[in-house]
Symmetry: C2
Subunit: 597 residues, 2 copies
Amino acid sequence: MSSYADRLAALREQLKSEHLDGFVVPLTDEHMSEYVGSYAQRLAWLTGFQGSAGSAVVLPQEAAIFVDGRYTLQVRQQVSADEWSYQSVPETSVAEWLKDHAPEGGRIGYDPWLHTREWVKRAKEALASRGAELVPVERNLIDKIWADRPEMSKARLAVQPDEYAGKSSAEKRTDIADWLGKQHADATVISALDSIAWTFNVRGEDVHRTPVALAYAIVNSDGTADLFVASEKIGPDVRQHLGNGVRLHERYEFENALSQLGGKTIAVDPERAVSAIFDALDKAGAKAVALRDPTILPKAIKNEVEIAGQRASQVRDGAAIARFLHWIDEEAPSGEVDELTASDKLESFRREAPELRDLSFDSISGSGPNGAIVHYKSSEKTNRKLQRGELYLIDSGGQYVDGTTDITRTVAIGEPTDEMRDRFTRVLKGHIAVASAVFPKGTRGTQLDSFARRPLWEAGLDYAHGTGHGVGSYLAVHEGPQRISPATSAQAGGDEPLQAGMLISNEPGYYKSGEYGIRIENLVLVVEKRIEGAEKEMLGFETVTFAPIERRLVVKDMLSAAELDWLNDYHRQVLEKIGPKLSGADREWLEQACAPI
Amino acid sequence: MSSYADRLAALREQLKSEHLDGFVVPLTDEHMSEYVGSYAQRLAWLTGFQGSAGSAVVLPQEAAIFVDGRYTLQVRQQVSADEWSYQSVPETSVAEWLKDHAPEGGRIGYDPWLHTREWVKRAKEALASRGAELVPVERNLIDKIWADRPEMSKARLAVQPDEYAGKSSAEKRTDIADWLGKQHADATVISALDSIAWTFNVRGEDVHRTPVALAYAIVNSDGTADLFVASEKIGPDVRQHLGNGVRLHERYEFENALSQLGGKTIAVDPERAVSAIFDALDKAGAKAVALRDPTILPKAIKNEVEIAGQRASQVRDGAAIARFLHWIDEEAPSGEVDELTASDKLESFRREAPELRDLSFDSISGSGPNGAIVHYKSSEKTNRKLQRGELYLIDSGGQYVDGTTDITRTVAIGEPTDEMRDRFTRVLKGHIAVASAVFPKGTRGTQLDSFARRPLWEAGLDYAHGTGHGVGSYLAVHEGPQRISPATSAQAGGDEPLQAGMLISNEPGYYKSGEYGIRIENLVLVVEKRIEGAEKEMLGFETVTFAPIERRLVVKDMLSAAELDWLNDYHRQVLEKIGPKLSGADREWLEQACAPI
């Protein structure tokens, strides 16, 4: 295996042979995915960086890697300072940096299948101010030098039956066709992988922990569709399920299909479709209209069947969590349980459910100071034993065939300090403030975010992540467009009104660097709230995650009467829903863990 | 006096003679002011509409008036449906409406001194889709037909001495020059009237209730400035105060001065400068760089002297309010006090202070159902007596030479209903939640807005206005850029981080249409908060308005212990600050009004 220095040198050789003065390497795929298949892990291959977001620019004499605040430390551990300079976003950006560093009059290459049109526009403008040029490449330069690059996954697609999807693919396509009619458009390109999985009621195994398949789709105004996916991935069951309304093509035929759309009006999502799609439509003489992917909102608003599936998967998941927490309670005080053993144990409990297809993300299993690393991933190198007097944080989830879960619990091993209990109680107060919020229709998640922070703010504390993200239905564990976050931009989901049926996480936290981390995460469903005498149509949340919240970390005197009622009522529900799934010592443990305070 | 129908007909004649197919009439002036001088009240003259925001479009066969939700009822009362169609913004806009209604291929006139460049761009695009054209006019068409149009105010400017301004104009101009250096710009055009008043430490009388003077300014990178203001308005005191660093020109010379800037780089605020300014710079061959007016932030962040002045003016103002509330308490139950008498009485109390220069806006004096009209202005026609069993809302403020005030109190006349007390207490809880908030540096007002609404939301209620607006220092009572509002857009101030020294109102409310209105408004100053063990630099609010909050409307049991403490502590401070200013029966009344609950 070549060294990272060798890889960088090889890329620079490649630049030379293609008469380029630089190349941009983002961490995404042709679908603007958050998580990508191994074939698309170009940034990690080139630099060694293992984080989930970042990009790099390589010039003949300089190379820079761009990461956000979550990865400031990690990038320094994983990427050599000899070859790379570290850049922080949003303080700078690839475009801003190129403005100062690109060789004057130089040609900087980019892969148009890995960037949005907006990114290309901005980078072009930035380079223009240097007299330099942004140049699309025919084939990604990394792919040319990455000898043992993994192939794209050949995993077969699976049918997501209507009994879980709640709406047939034909009905969904009819809705899209109706929308196209209103937009006076002939077709829409759907390139986001979870949108495709949702539209066609299929699932895949091509992206780690996310049940999607590598594909593109064009849905037409007559309700038919063209689906571009490797034919070897389609079995007879899926073929039959898709039916006559869906024409199947090889994935590599997609670009050519775009070139056939001349004269037509095509709706394309500028945030989710890559620049190359717009380029191909422009070249074909099609009229690309920038509109949000029409599946985004119906996908986010769960139907009754999806909600029932979510509830069923939560009971299963809560039972696994409860058994795990009992196990931790018994075993961890010995000092012999480590982070990896613990997360393996939790996975084994989850895997007992036949409905489980996968985890919904790599578990974050952090003991003591490792719990303070928000996106921690335990490895043989960092693995630590759970120890008395410390906190243990476990953020995990399951991909069940009927629902995706995501839950974080923080527990005390042995006796916690007063400070830990104070901080935990503040996080809990914030969690309850969100869980019990009622708000008028039209309210955006941004307007609720501070409810979660206020108890921490009162002590001069805060946490550096959002309070909640949308969650899919046996799909992506991070799903837009709604969010609960201080971010106000439309792109960050800050502008999206919450609507009944949306599923979202409620996960305030507190992290004391080098000491401990706390997070309490449940999923909540947006529901209509009837209030006597109300003048507005009101919404609120129904918590759908059920597992005990660590009572030993709660300072009762810090809770208001209403907050204490919430906690006791929540534990009553946990016992009611999860109790019947447990027996023997597990059941006894749960009863104690859920006892009123 | 001609009828509104005659005026509309005259405008249509004028259209014909200028070969136009329409004309746009906004409610603003050449400075994009919120409140405008009588000479610029073109919309009111044409249509009869007396609201503070709106616009109109006149076509040969159609005429439309555009207002927002605040004025939906009022526009129907004041503007004839025979001639005008009523349009609601933001559901539609002048540009959107023109897209459907402009004659195909038509020429729609606009006055480039009354619109932003962005507005012109959008309207042009909208009209282009109709094959129609947006045409700048040399002189506003209304001005040509408005025979008795008032002249511009000739009021003389007054010096705002450094003892109130806290910073000399020369120092402010040096700061602007430093900023220009950083922006690589040669000069900046300042056209917002309050920015000019602040920069030059002068005040005027040209806009109702706002102490500004009609002028333009160009501040240069050497710290000198060119000030364009009618010479008859400048006395020797102001001339001496301005000194050699400020070259005086007639206001009408401004456009010509812009035409001399060819080859220079000029910073211009795209939200505050009108299109004509950009047009003139473009024509001259100057490079206009769109940057926010550099005085906006330093004007919003009050210096120590301005803060001291604000405190002094608040004590005076609170004493006047207390005497007024005592008077209401004595006189209103007789049923003989009406809204106009009441606001006159309050004004007379305020005018006893020699430092008072004007009111800061027309008082909103609303009894019973009139209190539910958020922007109510009592008139002979709507005037009502204050009656037992009703609420009375008074929103008012003073322009003192050392500070601008803005306060709302709601009081019960006779015995209030349980519902009124419940609603008042919810509004109070929201007010306290904002007043007592602590938050990390970088927090925007948008993140605090929901604190004020939560107690109302819990009962299915809300209010349809923002929670707080910035306030000037003996300047505009509505001053940006900070706000406390659900709006997230940068333009609406939603994106502006709060900073220590900013002055802002805290005014949640509740309005029951046809019955009563409640609002509790104090001004608060953003201050640094030291918290034991804090990990973040924290900010909070210090309430600077002092006047009793109606104890008879408070339901004690609905307040938490912390809320009750806040209220009692606030009243203790009111008594401490205002008490010494009162004597006899007024003082006795205040003691009772401030007694602990």
